[in-house]
Symmetry: D2
Subunit: 307 residues, 4 copies
C-alpha cells in the first residue's frame, strides 16, 4: 500500500470572480459536486487548477479552503508546481502544514535539466517530506519526459508513490504499467488524458485524473466502476460518451492551451450553474464569443448535463 | 465499402543479404509465415520495410515479388513514400502497374508544407489513381500531423479510403475514430502502434499495422479475433503478452529509430530461423553485440517463439 | 585546396511553366543573370531549386541544362537530396555523369538516424565518388543537426570538402568556423542565411549560398568584395540593404516554408521580367493575391531592382 | 531615451557556499570585478544567476545585496522570472521596492499561451509598474518565441523598453533590429549570445548580456569599445578570443544546460580565485571531475586569465 488511492481523482478547477479573485462559493459548489459524485480523491492546484497563474498566497488559501470543504470525505492531493527543487520544497512544506494527503510534483522546468538532475530533484523532494509524492509527467508544460524505468526505480526505493501521466505517449504509458506491475506495483499509475481512459485501464492504469471530470464526475465514476466490474462494454460506452463531451475543448475560436481546455470546462460549468463565471487568470481571456459558447452549450446539452 | 480490409495488416520487413541486397528467399519465408497466420493483408514498403533506404529499382522488385508470393491470398498494399507530390505519383504509377490493391502515402516531407498543401497533395494523388489511398500519419518521420477533421473530410469526398496512424497521439486517434464514425465510417482506421492495440480497438480502430506482427503474426490475429468476439479479457491478455515481446526494441545498445526497432524485429526473426540475417540497409548497422542479441533471444524465448 | 570555391554560390531557382514543367528559357535567363553578376559558382537542385518536388528525370534535365548554360564559366554544384544513403548515391552517380564539379548532400532523413549513422552515411557517399562533397546542414528539413566536431573530423579525413550551413544556429556556426580553422581549414564553410552574411563573414565563413541571390546576385557579390577588401562599413551597408529586400518572404498571406520563401523569390523575378511565371511545384500554389504581390513589388522597387 | 543603457550588461552569477546558501563575499568580489572592468550595467537574477532555482526570500536578498554593492556605479536590472502574469507582477513589486532600475521578464511559461496572451502579459506588467521593462526572449526555457513585430509594436506604445535576445535565431534578430530602427529605435536591443556579438553589432544590437562576461568582463568591454570606435578588425579579434574562451562550456562531461554552461563559468571563476566554490543550486551537481576541470583550466589559462 503506497498511500495513493485508485480511481477517479479530478484536478479541481479554480473558479474566479470577474476581478480575478478566487470565488470560494463556486469552489465549494464544485467540491460538493465532485464529492457527491463519489470521486476517490481531489487534486487541487494542478494544471487545470491554473496553478501556474496563482501566487503563493492564493495557492495556500485554495488548499486550506479545499481541505476544509472536503473535510476528510476523500483525500486531497496538492500540486507543488514550480521551476526547480528548492522552490518546490517550499510549496511542499506549506502543503504539509495545510493538511493534504499527498503532493504532486513535476520534473524541473525553465532551466534545462537531464535525467541525472531529474532523479536528484525527486530524491531531494523525498528527503524533504514524509508525504506520498506523485510524479506529474507533463512534457507539454515542462518539456522533458519521465522515463518509465526511472519512475519504477524511484518507486521501488520509496521515493515516489504515484504517477499522473499527461505525457500523451500511450506506448510509454503501457510500458510504465508493465514495468510497475513486474516490480510489485509500488506506483499508483493514473492517466491524465480524458478520452483514452478505457484503453489506459486495459493497459493497467489504477485510475485517472480527468480535467473533464469537473464537468461530469459521475461519468468518470461510472466508467471506473464498469471497469472494476469487468463490464468492458459499459466502460467503452461511458468513454465514448465522455469523448463526445470532450469536444467542447475544440470549440473555442482562437484559443490554445488552457484558455481553450480549462476555459471550456469553466464555460460548461458556468452554463450548468455550478460556478458563477468562466473567468480565467491573467493573461488568459475567458471564452466570450457567442459562437464558441453556443457550441459548448450544445455539446453539454447533448451529454445530458443541461436541462 | 471503401476497399480497405479490416484486421491485421503487418508492414512487411525487407530481409537482406550480407551485402545489402534483398534476400528474396527469406522474404518468401516471411510472407508465408504471415499469410499462414491468417493476416488480413500485407503492407509492403512501409517504414518497417525500410522503404526510405531502397532505390526505385529495388522497390519495384520487392512489390513485384510480394504480389507474386501472396498470389491473391490477401490484398497487398504498397508504400509510395517520397518527399513531395510528383515523386509520390511516380511511385503510385509503378505500384499500380505491379498490381497492388492500395497505396499508402504520407504527407509531403523535407520541404515544409502547411495544411493547405497537405490537402492539395492528397487531392493530387487521388487525381492520379483509382486505387484506394491510405494516408500514413507518421509525424516522427514527416514532421507534420494529419488532423482528424481533414482526414474525415477527404474520406467523405472519396479522396482517402484509409488511415494508418503512427502518430503516437492516442487522444487525436480517438477523435479520428469518433469523427469517422459520425461521418458514416468512410475510412478504415488502422493503428500502427504495437502495444496499445487493445485500447485502439476500444477507441474504434478497424485493425492494426504492427511491425511486431512480423515476429508474431498469430498473436495479433488472436487479439483481433478476441476483439471481434467481444472477449475483451482475452484481448487484453494477448496485448499484454505482445507488449512483453515488444520489449525487444528497447534492448539494442546504442541504437535509435529503425536501427533499434526494425533491427530487433530482424534479429528475432533471424534467431527464429525465418530470415537469414539481421542486416539493415546502409547507413544502419545490424544489431551485432552479444548483450543485445542475448537480451532479444531471452525475450523471444519467453514469448514462446523459440524452442 | 579542397576543390570548393569561396564566395557567392546562389542556389538556383527552377522556373516553371504554368503546367508545372520546367521553363528552360527562364532558367537560361536566370543563369545568365547570375553568371553576369559575377557569382563564384551555381548550386543547382537545392531546397530553393525545389529539389524535393522534382522527379529524377526532371532533376537530370535541370543539371544537364545548367551545366550546358554555364559552360564552364563557374563551377556547378548539384544537390543530391534524398532520404537515405543508397538513394543519394544514385543521384551522385547521375550528377557525376552529367558533369557537375561537386555534390551537396544532407544527413539521412525520413527514417530516424543517430550520429553514428550520419557519419556512416557521409563515409558511404565518399566511397562512392571522387567528387568533392558539400554537407548540407538543414535541420528544418532533415530534423537532425550536423555537429561541428563531426564535420571537421570528416573533412580532416577527406570525406567532406564543404559545408552549406542552413542550420539557423549561429553559435554553432562560429564554432564550426573556429574548429575548421584550427584543423587547417579543410572545409569551405558557406552560410545559407541571407540576412546574417556579414556576421558569418566575421565568424569565418568562406562565402554564402543565398536564395535571395537569385533576385539580387550583384548585391551579394558586392558584399563579398567589400568583405574581402576589409571594407566592413560597406559590407554592412550592403547587408542591411539585402535584409530590407529579404522582407519579401514575410509578405505572402497564408503561406509557409518554400511557398513563402521561394515563392516570393519567383514572384520578384517574374515582376522583374527575368522569369515568366511564379509557379511552384505541386502541391504548392503560387503567390496569386494582389496584396502579397503588391507588397513584393513595392519592396523590390525600393531596392532599386524595378524601374 | 528609453531608460535602458547600451553596452555590456553581464547577467550576474550567484556564487554559492558548499551548503547551497548564497556566498555574498564571493558575490561582492564578482560585482567589483565587473564594475571595475567598466561594464555598463548588471543584470541580476537572470538564467545565469540561477533565478529559477532560488526561492523568493533568496531572490530578494540577492537583489538587495547587489544594489548595495553596486551603489549607483551602474544600473542594476533584475530578472522577474516566473510562470505567469500575477506571479511576475509580485516579483516586480519587490524588485521596485529594492531599488532596481529596470526589470527583465519572459513570456509566460509552463502553461501554454499564444500570441494574444503573450501580448496581454506584457501589457499587464506595464500596467503594474513604471520601471522600464526588458523582454527576455529565451525560447529554450519558455518554449515560445517573441515575434519582432510584436516587440517593436509594444515598444512603440511604451510597453517595453528593451529586449534581451537569447533566442538563438540570428535571422529574426536582424529583423528585430531593422524593424526597431525603422520605428525610431524605441527598444534597446541586447544579444545574449556570447560568441556572435560582433555579428549582432553589425546587425544593429545596442549591446550584449553575456554570461561569459562574468569570466572576462574586460574582453566584452573592449569589444564594445572597438565597435563604437568603428575598429571592426579589433572587434573581430576580441570576439574570436572570447569564442575560444567560451569553449569551456563544451568541456563538462555528462552535463547539459546550466549545469554545463553556468557550471563552467563558476568553475573558471573558482579557479581564478574570484569565487570560493563552483557549487550549483539543487538539483544540479557542480563540475567535479578532474578531466572537465583541467580542460576548463587549460582554456582559461590560454585566454590569459590565469597566471
Amino acid at each position: 500500500m503506497n498511500g495513493i488511492v485508485s480511481g477517479i481523482i479530478p484536478p479541481l478547477l479554480t473558479p474566479l470572480h470577474e476581478n480575478g479573485d478566487v470565488d470560494y462559493e463556486s469552489l465549494g459548489n464544485l467540491v460538493e459536486r465532485l464529492v457527491g459524485a463519489g470521486v476517490d480523491g481531489i487534486f487541487v492546484l494542478g494544471s487545470s487548477g491554473e496553478v501556474a497563474f496563482l501566487n503563493d498566497t492564493v495557492r495556500d488559501q485554495v488548499i486550506e479552503k479545499v481541505v476544509a470543504l472536503v473535510d476528510g470525505r476523500c483525500p486531497v492531493y496538492a500540486g507543488v508546481i514550480d521551476t526547480q527543487t528548492n522552490r518546490v520544497i517550499e510549496h511542499i512544506r506549506r502543503a504539509e502544514a495545510l493538511g493534504v494527503q499527498a503532493v504532486v510534483a513535476t520534473a524541473p522546468f525553465y532551466a534545462i535539466t537531464g535525467p541525472a538532475e531529474i532523479e536528484a530533484h525527486f530524491r531531494a523532494l523525498r528527503a524533504a517530506t514524509t508525504l506520498p509524492i506523485i510524479a506529474y509527467d507533463i512534457p507539454v508544460c515542462v518539456h522533458s519526459k519521465l522515463a518509465p524505468e526511472l519512475l519504477v526505480r524511484l518507486a521501488t526505493e520509496g521515493v515516489l508513490q504515484g504517477v499522473k501521466d499527461s505525457s500523451g505517449d500511450d506506448v510509454s504509458f503501457r510500458r510504465l504499467c508493465m514495468l510497475n506491475k513486474k516490480a510489485g506495483s509500488p506506483l499508483t499509475v493514473l492517466t491524465g488524458h480524458e478520452v483514452v481512459v478505457d484503453g489506459s485501464y486495459l493497459a493497467g492504469a489504477d485510475g485517472c485524473v480527468p480535467g473533464l471530470g469537473n464537468v461530469d464526475p459521475s461519468g468518470y465514476v461510472r466508467m471506473w466502476k464498469a471497469f472494476q466490474a469487468g463490464d468492458w462494454d459499459r466502460m467503452k460506452v461511458e468513454q465514448d460518451r465522455l469523448a463526445e463531451l470532450f469536444e467542447i475543448v475544440f470549440t473555442p475560436i482562437g484559443k490554445v492551451g488552457p484558455a481553450a481546455g480549462v476555459g471550456s470546462f469553466k464555460t460548461a460549468l458556468e452554463l450548468m450553474g455550478v460556478i458563477k463565471t468562466n473567468i480565467m487568470s491573467a493573461p488568459l481571456a475567458p471564452i466570450a464569443d457567442d459562437v464558441s459558447r453556443n457550441a459548448i452549450e450544445k455539446i453539454v446539452r447533448e451529454a445530458g448535463l443541461l436541462n
